[in-house]
């Protein structure tokens, strides 16, 4: 038992990771939005509408919605409901498939050119994170492994693997600690991030593809995709899932971003694509899931040398 285990257990007990949480949020969202949309609150609470009555109405709606999602049928069309249910189901199936192991290939392109990229593979508590964007000088090819609770990194100067020790014992000097970074990645490979994004998509449109997969397109607030996490260059930054820094509209939590989720014929999410920006400067962020449940465990590098060997 170590610090990491106890805090990982605590993070796994987060209400967001509990079954039904996404449904609760969605029910709350629909209910409150319905009240706002029907003019009850929009035309406003202060004097024209007794506050307590409005609260009771909203609460009643919340309770009803939480008790039976079917009650939401008055809000949207049948098709939109089906799409919402299908995306939610795909998120649950994918999270279950990814529980044991998997690979996520993450890319950001800017005007069609690769801006940043990372490939993450996980197997149980072990992780491998490789930066593989060729244009990122000094970053391309960097790799981090966590095997049996020990972090291994590629030495950028001398090459070869360096055993860096336990993540909680690594002091990065400033910014996000390795422990925090790994905790965030583990949240992303689990169902928490996936459910948060899929549960928040609105205006869903369904488009079947020839290969049996289906694309669900909609809008999602940037704040639900890119969370504030740490500092870079003295500025607070927002970070997309799997640790890539958000730019432009994606860094504005209220900005609506276009999201498309491709669900395979087997019901598992194949890809999440999020786009923002103008036609002249479009950003595209994609997460492609591969080998869910069948990704091999990363192995500790046999020739890794202890960190202290780097000191002169």
């Amino acid at each position: 038992m170590n610090t990491t285990e106890s805090f990982e257990a605590l993070r796994r007990a987060n209400p967001r990771a509990q079954p039904g949480f996404a449904e609760s949020v969605e029910a709350a969202a629909h209910a409150v939005r319905a009240r706002m949309a029907d003019g009850t609150a929009a035309s406003e609470p202060q004097t024209s509408f007794p506050r307590r009555r409005l609260v009771c109405a909203v609460v009643a709606a919340l309770l009803a919605a939480a008790a039976a999602v079917a009650a939401l049928s008055t809000i949207g069309s049948r098709g939109a409901e089906d799409a919402t249910a299908a995306v939610k189901k795909a998120a649950s199936v994918t999270a279950a498939s990814a529980e044991r192991s998997g690979t996520a290939v993450v890319r950001i392109t800017h005007d069609g050119k690769l801006w940043a990229g990372t490939t993450i593979r996980w197997h149980g508590d072990d992780l491998g994170v490789r930066s593989d964007a060729p244009s990122r000088r000094g970053r391309a090819g960097s790799e981090l492994l966590v095997v049996d609770g020990i972090v291994y990194g590629l030495d950028p100067d001398a090459g070869g693997w360096v055993m860096q020790g336990k993540p909680e014992n690594i002091d990065p000097g400033s910014g996000t600690t390795p422990d925090e970074y790994l905790a965030a990645v583990r949240e992303d490979v689990g169902g928490v991030t996936l459910r948060r994004i899929t549960a928040s998509m609105t205006g869903l449109i369904k488009r079947p593809l020839d290969d049996g997969s289906t694309v669900y397109s909609g809008t999602v607030a940037a704040g639900l995709i890119a969370r504030e996490s740490g500092f870079k260059g003295g500025q607070a930054i927002r970070v997309l899932p799997f640790g890539l820094v958000a730019h432009d509209e994606a860094a504005d939590p209220s900005a609506p971003l276009q999201a498309a989720i491709t669900v395979g014929a087997d019901g598992v999410i194949r890809e999440i694509a999020v786009t923002w920006g103008s036609s002249e400067a479009t950003w595209t962020y994609t997460v492609t899931y591969k080998r869910l449940g069948t990704t091999a465990a990363p192995e500790a590098p046999a020739n890794a040398r202890p960190l202290r060997d780097r000191s002169p």
Binding site: F7, A9, L10, F21, A28, M36, L62, A66, L224, P253
Partner: protein
């Protein structure tokens, strides 16, 4: 701010942070119905005071602080149930959880003081920084940082102690069964 702008800003605020406030109220309020009540109250307060709301991530902190006050008011208004409610806020999860690890987590959380538990969960479950926690609970950042450090240490110690006790039980039980059967 025009009505249209107000509506757009509220929609964006709700889309960005409703899941956070639902999650926070779910562990902070004494019951599911109180949590739902609190979520509605928080966003109605936000709507009424939209012009005063800070921009960016500070709005998220404002919503947490408002949720905290709303839940505190709920508790004050039902003072007779207070002791029971405070216990139930954590114990309800323990009672319904069938996951042994989750049960250990909730038991370790229950052992913490309420102030320690609050800062720990604001950090670990809500992802707030010490400065943001200070804004939510109304203390200095240095105080929040100190409380958080203490809470983390106490939680880790409690969890490890409970885990060790559970492991010991697991080891003992098979032996007791064999002895009892022979």
């Amino acid at each position: 701010m025009s009505d249209g702008e107000r509506k757009r800003r509220f929609d964006a605020l709700f889309a960005s942070y409703s899941s956070d406030i639902v999650a926070y109220c779910s562990w902070r309020a004494p019951s599911a119905s109180d949590a739902q009540d609190a979520v509605a109250d928080v966003f109605l307060t936000a709507w009424r005071r939209l012009d005063e709301l800070p921009r960016g991530d500070a709005a998220r902190v404002w919503l947490y602080a408002t949720a905290r006050r709303v839940i505190a008011n709920q508790r004050r208004s039902t003072r007779r149930r207070k002791a029971l409610e405070e216990r139930l806020a954590v114990e309800a999860s323990v009672a319904t959880s069938t996951d042994p690890e989750e049960t250990l987590v909730h038991e370790a959380l229950r052992r913490l003081g309420s102030a320690d538990r609050e800062v720990l969960l604001l950090a670990e479950w809500e992802g707030l920084s010490p400065a943001e926690i200070a804004s939510v609970v109304g203390c200095l950042p240095v105080t929040a940082r100190g409380r958080l450090h203490r809470a983390r240490r106490r939680f880790r110690d409690g969890f490890e102690e409970l885990s060790a006790a559970t492991s010991e039980l697991r080891v003992r039980r098979p032996r007791a069964a064999v002895e009892g059967g022979s």
